[in-house]
Subunit: 134 residues, 2 copies
DNA sequence: GCTTGAGTTCAAGTCAACTTTAAGTTGTAT
DNA sequence: ATACAACTTAAAGTTGACTTGAACTCAAGC
């Protein structure tokens, strides 16, 4: 049994975020002790772990919620889940490639401005981009 | 010389986005022909190409703007640029790793739900997660 | 019986990066 | 002269994922 503070800390989230997730239906069956204080158990830990994993793959909270809805009736929805996950696999791979391209661009800038910085310190002329980046 | 429509199309952006970039100071020296119609040239193409590259590495428009500001006085700012780019290199690598972790999670789901899907089609029992994912 | 601390509700606010809307302008074709 | 497409401005609206604020509740300790 965990308090909202404890469970928030466990996942590096704020209590307000945990409450928000419940509000939008992402966290379910939260017991409000005496109709008041929220109490969490291992099922919520599992749910939040899954949410964090999906967030890493950039699923929206809406999509994550949809996934959990599907999971409630695997028999009718395993196909939907599969389709959803395959689409996300593609999107995620694309985003990784996009980021890799961005990273390369940034690294070229690092290379060039390292040369520039050095030239300045040694009182030389600022090198041309083409002389540093082939 | 390009119209706003042409340059927007060239980069897959909307005309309103191009106007917005000008408004926030990301696109500079745009000629308003007869104080009205915007006209763009190669310098704007170059600027927009750079913006798109930085966006791939998830720099905010504010950061991109800062970069261009720094570039105007390389002598005093090459150090700042270098620092900024190195910080971004780190962040981008972190984000790539985060995405890769997310991707793995999604791929495990694909593996499991493929097995589930197949089991359902063949009228078998739904397999346990542990039997599919080691 | 009063304070304190942790928790609560509900509405409103925040942020970035745009997009939309409404109303007006300009140049060209009919 | 009129219609039309393409352009303009300024301000307000949108989206997702939270966060904040104000006012309230509850249990525990002094």
């Amino acid at each position: 049994m965990y308090s909202i503070k404890e469970i928030a800390a466990k996942f590096g989230l704020r209590a307000s975020t945990i409450r928000y997730y419940e509000e939008i239906g992402l966290l379910e069956n939260v017991v409000h002790e005496g109709g008041y204080k929220r109490v969490y158990d291992e099922t919520h830990i599992d749910r939040l772990s899954a949410i964090e994993c999906f967030k890493k793959a950039r699923l929206s909270l809406e999509e994550i919620k949809q996934f959990f809805e599907y999971e409630k009736d695997i028999h009718s929805n395993s196909g939907n889940i599969l389709e959803m996950m395959k689409a996300k696999e593609l999107k995620t791979k694309e985003e990784i490639n996009r980021l890799k391209a961005g990273l390369e661009h940034v690294q070229m800038k690092i290379k060039y401005y390292s040369a520039v910085d050095e030239a300045i310190k040694e009182g030389r002329e600022i090198p041309a981009w083409g002389d540093i980046i082939k």
